[in-house]
């Protein structure tokens, strides 16, 4: 239940941030969404069993290792893409359509 609520809150936060006009905030939104899905992957494997999967532990008590491998892979991929997005967020001219029009930009001329 707590896991489901956490996933819900993370997705809500992600949706809120992604609707923002600033690209940087959208990137943060994607980070939250990625975490939500990682938790979902964990939940898919069941969270009651927590024993070590190898080493002769009783299969009924051992954790499912596959979702853990999924999450690890997903984290690495999301990390790489986040960096690409962060680079894209600071590349470009001032006044392109990623700036927030209501608030003055902190750096009028973004560094290249």
């Amino acid at each position: 239940m707590i896991l489901a609520l956490t996933i819900g809150i993370l997705v809500a936060g992600a949706a809120y941030l992604m609707l923002d006009r600033s690209y940087l905030r959208a990137v943060l939104g994607f980070l939250l969404l990625g975490h939500a899905v990682n938790l979902l992957l964990f939940a898919a494997g069941g969270t009651q069993r927590r024993g070590e999967p190898l080493d002769g532990t009783d299969p009924a008590a051992a954790a499912d290792p596959l979702p853990q491998a999924f999450v690890l892979t997903a984290i690495v991929i999301a990390f790489a893409i986040t960096i690409v997005m962060l680079v894209l967020a600071v590349t470009g001219r001032a006044g392109d359509d990623t700036a927030d029009r209501d608030r003055p930009a902190e750096h009028p001329e973004p560094r290249r």
């Binding site: 994607f30 990625g34 979902l40 979702p67 997903a74 999301a78």
Partner: protein
């Protein structure tokens, strides 16, 4: 059996070569040779696979020799082999075009293309949902790099804007797909396509979970209502890269939709009406979007959306004729679309603009190029001697056969509208230099004669692909036979499942 051991090489070799060529200096000859030789070998391997699977055989390899159920298998049936061949052909032709134009001068062009091809091959071969996600990411990451490799002087900022959209959209869709995979694992306890066979028919929960995966793949394939990203992102990069992406990216998603629906849903008829509805709307919206555009590549990008509707209509019919027609259409479309992007890209390369109003006298300087465009455009619209005619005719017959009269009518109307905007580009290409440049627009008329001819080197790639579509139109029997074999493999997935689980 023995040949299947080589399947992982289709992924490993391009990825390895990408690492090898990464330190090469800009324009290094050896890196270019490695790129073209490997892409050529990739094409030959695809053809060999088509020959090996043409009788309906399935080659499968449990990578790492793990027992069935634990191994993450690669499997190639007739459909995967055909896709590998055509993507191989496009990668080779587009890379050659790219080397001759803007992006080829960049240092990282060869490794990025090689990594892209490795990812595409992996996504086509894998028989595991999570591995499909990984390979789609392997395919997308180099694409982000390629997107920004527009020419330095102009268009870099435009490319950055397009890339922002493209990266954000793809990350979102991939995350949705991953969530779908998590739900599939949670409800079915496996993500292996072999073990999932027919699972969606038995359990509604699994059907809903796989439905999320299919929805994510449909977004990646630019199905209406989520098609706007394609029309905006594709025209913003360099022509060679647009051509490459048009052939590889959305088509991998389409392939995955065909595969997953056939294996996991086992062709369940209950949900097909959703597909018929969505894909008919895709056809119509795409072609209408093209009417309002006035640069060559954005017209073509909208047409791509429209054609994706045709291709996916095949899977939404799920009859032997419909599937074969859809697969034939998919292969034909990849070739024709790349040819159109390359011929208009060559013009854009010389003129520095893709605006219809900014092009003068191409037909006089480069009759061959205009001929290549004409052939591909007629093929796209579905005029007889070319492959598009066979594709459209069989698809419309299949729709009528399945009782989907409305979809067939939409397909016919959209064909006519396709011809309309192809004529728009054609008019711009054949316009003579003197025409309507006279009294009012003096400045334009003076600049026009300075444009050099495109030349045979840049014409050749699109000409080759135009020749292929003519060949496939005249010799449609061969490809149609192969498509029918592939369709049979989708209708009866027993052989595929058995090979994957061996």
């Amino acid at each position: 059996m023995t040949a299947a051991v080589l399947l992982p090489l289709l992924v490993g070799l391009p990825l390895g070569a990408a690492g090898l060529t990464a330190p090469a200096r800009a324009g290094a000859l050896w890196a270019r040779v490695v790129l073209l030789v490997l892409l050529g070998a990739n094409l030959l391997a695809g053809i060999a696979l088509v020959v090996a699977t043409s009788g309906g055989e399935v080659l499968a390899e449990p990578v790492g020799a793990w027992p069935a159920g634990i191994a993450i298998p690669f499997a190639a049936d007739a459909l995967a082999a055909l896709m590998l061949t055509v993507t191989g052909l496009l990668a080779l032709v587009c890379a050659a075009f790219g080397l001759m134009t803007g992006p080829g001068a960049a240092r990282l062009f060869p490794p990025l293309v090689l990594a892209l091809v490795g990812g595409v091959n992996g996504a086509l071969l894998t028989a595991d949902l999570f591995n499909l996600f990984v390979f789609i990411e392997v395919m997308l990451l180099p694409s982000y790099g390629l997107l920004v490799l527009a020419r330095r002087r102009q268009g870099t900022m435009r490319a950055v804007n397009g890339t922002r959209l493209y990266v954000a959209f793809n990350l979102f869709v991939s995350t949705v797909f991953l969530a779908g995979v998590a739900l599939v694992y949670g409800s079915a306890g496996t993500v292996n396509l072999g073990e999932l066979a027919g699972a969606a028919q038995e359990s509604g929960t699994v059907a809903a979970a796989v439905g999320i995966c299919l929805a994510a793949l449909s977004m990646k394939a630019a199905v209406v209502p989520v098609h706007g990203w394609l029309a905006r992102a594709y025209p913003s990069t360099s022509p060679a890269v647009t051509a490459l992406f048009s052939g590889l990216h959305t088509k991998v998603a389409i392939y995955a939709i065909y595969r997953i629906y056939a294996v996991v849903f086992d062709g369940e008829a209950r949900w097909l009406w959703i597909g018929v509805l969505l894909f008919s709307a895709t056809m119509l919206v795409g072609v209408l979007g093209a009417v309002g555009e006035n640069t060559m590549r954005s017209i073509l990008a909208f047409h791509m959306v429209s054609q994706i509707g045709y291709i996916l209509l095949g899977v939404a019919l799920f009859t032997p004729l419909g599937l074969a027609a859809g697969i034939f259409y998919l292969l034909h479309h990849m070739i024709v679309k790349a040819s159109l992007f390359l011929s208009t890209g060559a013009v854009e390369e010389r003129h520095g603009t893709g605006e219809l109003g900014g092009i003068r006298g191409v037909a006089r300087r480069d009759p061959l190029l205009v001929a290549a465009f004409g052939v591909a455009a007629l093929s796209l619209a579905g005029i007889p001697p070319f492959s598009g005619f066979v594709a459209k005719l069989t698809l419309i017959l299949a729709a009528l056969d399945a009782g989907q009269v409305a979809a067939a009518v939409v397909a016919i109307v959209v064909s006519l509208l396709t011809l309309l905007s192809m004529i728009k580009i054609w008019n711009a290409l054949v316009r003579s230099p003197e025409e309507d440049g006279g009294p009012a627009g003096g400045g334009v008329a003076v600049a026009a004669p300075a444009v050099p001819a495109v030349g045979i080197r840049l014409t050749l790639p699109s000409l080759v692909l135009a020749a292929v579509t003519l060949g496939l139109g005249l010799g449609a029997e061969l490809l149609y036979g192969l498509s029918a074999t592939a369709a049979a493999g989708l209708l009866d997935t027993g052989g595929y499942v058995e090979a994957v689980l061996r």
